[in-house]
C-alpha cells in the first residue's frame, strides 16, 4: 500500500510541477483572499473536539477557532469546508480551500504534495482508555492482560511485543467499546486524541487515559504548494499561537487536558 501511495504521490508531484509551469503567474493567494473578503478553510467535521458539528450543524472546535484567528489577522470572514482524511490534500491542491487545518499527521510524503509550515501546531500519539479502578500507571502494567484494539492498527504489534499485552482486536470502534464495557479487555489502545473525545462523554465517566502517550506524531496545517508568502505567514501564526499559549487555552476551552506537546512548545517559544 505504501508503494502505491508513494507512486501516487510521485504522480501527483509530477502533475503538479507540470501544472505550475504551464499556468501563467497569478496573484498571491493572500491578495485573492483579501479581494474575496473570505478565508476558505478545510477542517474536519467528525473529529471531536478538533473539528465537529454542533446541534445546529455549524462546524466548531479547536481547529475552526485557529482558522478564525487567521481570518481575523487577515481582516476577512471565515468559511469552513468539511474535509475527510482521504480528500483533504486534494481540496487544497485544487484551490477549493485556501488553508487546511484537519488533524493531518505531518509526513515527508505529504510535504511533497502540500506546503506544511514549521513548527507543527499540534501532535497526537498512542494511548489507552481504561477503567479507573485498574490504576494503570505504565505501559508495562498491561503485561499479560487482554487489551482491545482495532484490527490492522500499527500499534497493536508494539503493544503486544514490547509491553506483552494480549491484543484482542476487533473490526471497528463500536465492537471495541462493547467489548471494553463487557470486560473482555482491560483497555483500548488507540489514538490519544480519539480517547480524549470519547472520555468527555458521560457514559465513559469511570474511564481514564492514564499512560504516557507514545509514538507521538506531529500534526501539520497546510497551504497550497508554492504559496511562499502565505506559508511564511502561517509559520509566524503558529509560533504566535505557541508563544501566547493559544493552543493550551483552546485545549482547556474544549475540555482537553493540556497535551505535553502543547506545553513543551509554549515553553520553547515563550
Amino acid at each position: 500500500m505504501l508503494n502505491i501511495l508513494s507512486k501516487k504521490v510521485a504522480t501527483a508531484v509530477a502533475l503538479g510541477a507540470f501544472a505550475l509551469t504551464s499556468l501563467p503567474a497569478h496573484a498571491d493567494v493572500i491578495d485573492d483572499i483579501k479581494a474575496r473578503g473570505t478565508l476558505i478553510v478545510g477542517v474536519k467535521a467528525d473529529y471531536k473536539p478538533y473539528g465537529f458539528r454542533d446541534t445546529s450543524g455549524a462546524i466548531i472546535g479547536i481547529e475552526p477557532e485557529l482558522a478564525k484567528d487567521v481570518a481575523d489577522k487577515l481582516g476577512v470572514d471565515v468559511e469552513y469546508v468539511p474535509v475527510v482524511s482521504s480528500n483533504r490534500m486534494q481540496f487544497l491542491e485544487q484551490g477549493k480551500v485556501d488553508l487546511m487545518i484537519a488533524t493531518m499527521t505531518d509526513k515527508p510524503d505529504r510535504r511533497k504534495v502540500v506546503s506544511i509550515p514549521d513548527p507543527n501546531y499540534y501532535s497526537s500519539g498512542t494511548n489507552i482508555m481504561t477503567p479507573k479502578k485498574f490504576g494503570f500507571k505504565e505501559w508495562e502494567d498491561l503485561r499479560g492482560k487482554p487489551v482491545c484494539g482495532i484490527q490492522g492498527a500499527f500499534y497493536n504489534k508494539k503493544t503486544g511485543r514490547d509491553f506483552g499485552a494480549k491484543i484482542v482486536a476487533f473490526k471497528g470502534t463500536a465492537e471495541v467499546y462493547a467489548a471494553l464495557k463487557a470486560g473482555n479487555c482491560v483497555a483500548f489502545v488507540y489514538d490519544d486524541s480519539s480517547h480524549v473525545a470519547t472520555l468527555e462523554q458521560p457514559e465513559w465517566a469511570d474511564y481514564e487515559m492514564p499512560l504516557p502517550t507514545i509514538d507521538d506524531a506531529p500534526w501539520g496545517l497546510a497551504v497550497k504548494l508554492g504559496e511562499t508568502k502565505f506559508h511564511d505567514m502561517m509559520g509566524e501564526m503558529i509560533v504566535g499561537w505557541h508563544k501566547s499559549g493559544r493552543i493550551l487555552e483552546l485545549e482547556t476551552k474544549w475540555g482537553v487536558t493540556n497535551t505535553p506537546f502543547a506545553k513543551e512548545m509554549h515553553e520553547k517559544y515563550k
Partner: protein
C-alpha cells in the same frame, strides 16, 4: 532452522517476497499460535458438533411430541441464520447478560470468553446440520432390522446405540465429511470476535507488513493442507468401516 529463517530474510531482500512469519520471531510465534488455535477450535467443534448430531437425531425420533418439537426448533434457528450473526449474537448479546467473574487483576470479565463462544456457536451451527445428516442415515436403516431387534427385546436406547447408529454412520459418512470440511473453514469467522486463530493472526501480520498477497497465498495453502488432512482421515475411516454388501 536458523538457516531457513535467514533464507526468508534474504528472499525478502532480493525478490521483495515478504514472509515475515518465517524470519520475524514475533510474527512467527503469532502464526504458530494461530495455527494451533485453528486446530484446537476445529477439533473441539468437530467433536461437539458430531455429539450434538448423534444425540439430536436420537431425540428427533423420540415418542414425546415436545422433545421432537424442541429439536426441530433448534435445527430451524441454527440452520437458518448466518454463523457470523450467531457469533456476534452469542458474544455481544448473550455474553454480556451472563454473570461475570473477577479475574486475577481485579477486573470483572464475562464468564465465557471469545474461544468458548466460538466453540458453542460453531458446534451448534454445524450440529444442526449433523442432526439432519444422521437422521438421513437412521432412516436408511431398514425397518425390518429394527423390528428384528425389538422382537429380541432390545430397549430403544440399546437399538439406537448398537444397531441403528453403527449402520447409519456408514451411510452418513460422505455427507458428514462434507459438513465437517465446511465447519473447519467456518472457524475463520471466529476472528470477528477476536479469537486469535490463523486468519486473525494473518490479518495482523499483513497489516503490519503490507504483504497482503503473500499472506493470502499462504493462508490458502495452509487451509488446503489442513482440510486435506481431515478429508484423508475421513476417507480412510469410511473405507475401514465398510461392510461388504451393505449399502452399495
Amino acid at each position: 532452522m536458523e538457516a531457513f529463517y535467514e533464507w526468508a530474510r534474504v528472499l525478502y531482500e532480493n525478490t521483495g517476497i515478504n514472509l515475515p512469519f518465517i524470519y520475524d520471531s514475533y510474527d512467527r510465534d503469532r502464526m504458530i499460535n494461530g495455527f494451533f488455535m485453528t486446530v484446537k477450535l476445529s477439533v473441539t467443534c468437530l467433536f461437539f458438533s458430531v455429539v450434538i448430531g448423534i444425540i439430536g437425531a436420537w431425540l428427533q425420533s423420540s415418542p414425546l411430541k415436545w422433545t421432537r418439537r424442541i429439536v426441530g426448533g433448534y435445527i430451524q434457528i441454527f440452520r437458518n441464520t448466518p454463523p457470523l450473526v450467531q457469533l456476534y449474537f452469542f458474544y455481544f448479546a448473550i455474553g454480556t447478560l451472563l454473570p461475570k467473574v473477577t479475574n486475577e487483576y481485579g477486573g470483572q470479565e464475562p464468564i465465557l470468553g471469545g474461544f468458548a463462544w466460538a466453540v458453542i456457536s460453531l458446534s451448534f451451527f454445524a450440529g444442526a446440520y449433523n442432526v439432519e445428516i444422521f437422521r438421513s442415515g437412521i432412516e436408511a436403516v431398514p425397518d425390518s432390522t429394527i423390528e428384528a431387534a425389538e422382537a429380541l427385546g432390545f430397549s430403544r436406547l440399546h437399538i439406537y446405540k448398537d444397531i441403528t447408529l453403527p449402520l447409519a454412520i456408514r451411510v452418513v459418512l460422505p455427507a458428514l465429511n462434507n459438513n465437517l470440511v465446511n465447519l473447519v473453514k467456518t472457524t475463520t469467522l471466529a476472528y470477528a470476535i477476536a479469537v486469535p486463530e490463523m486468519l486473525y493472526e494473518a490479518n495482523q501480520i499483513w497489516s503490519d507488513n503490507v504483504n497482503v498477497t503473500e499472506m493470502m497465498i499462504f493462508m490458502l495453502l495452509v487451509y488446503f493442507v489442513l482440510v486435506g488432512v481431515l478429508v484423508w482421515g475421513m476417507n480412510r475411516w469410511e473405507r475401514a468401516l465398510k461392510i461388504p454388501g451393505f449399502g452399495a
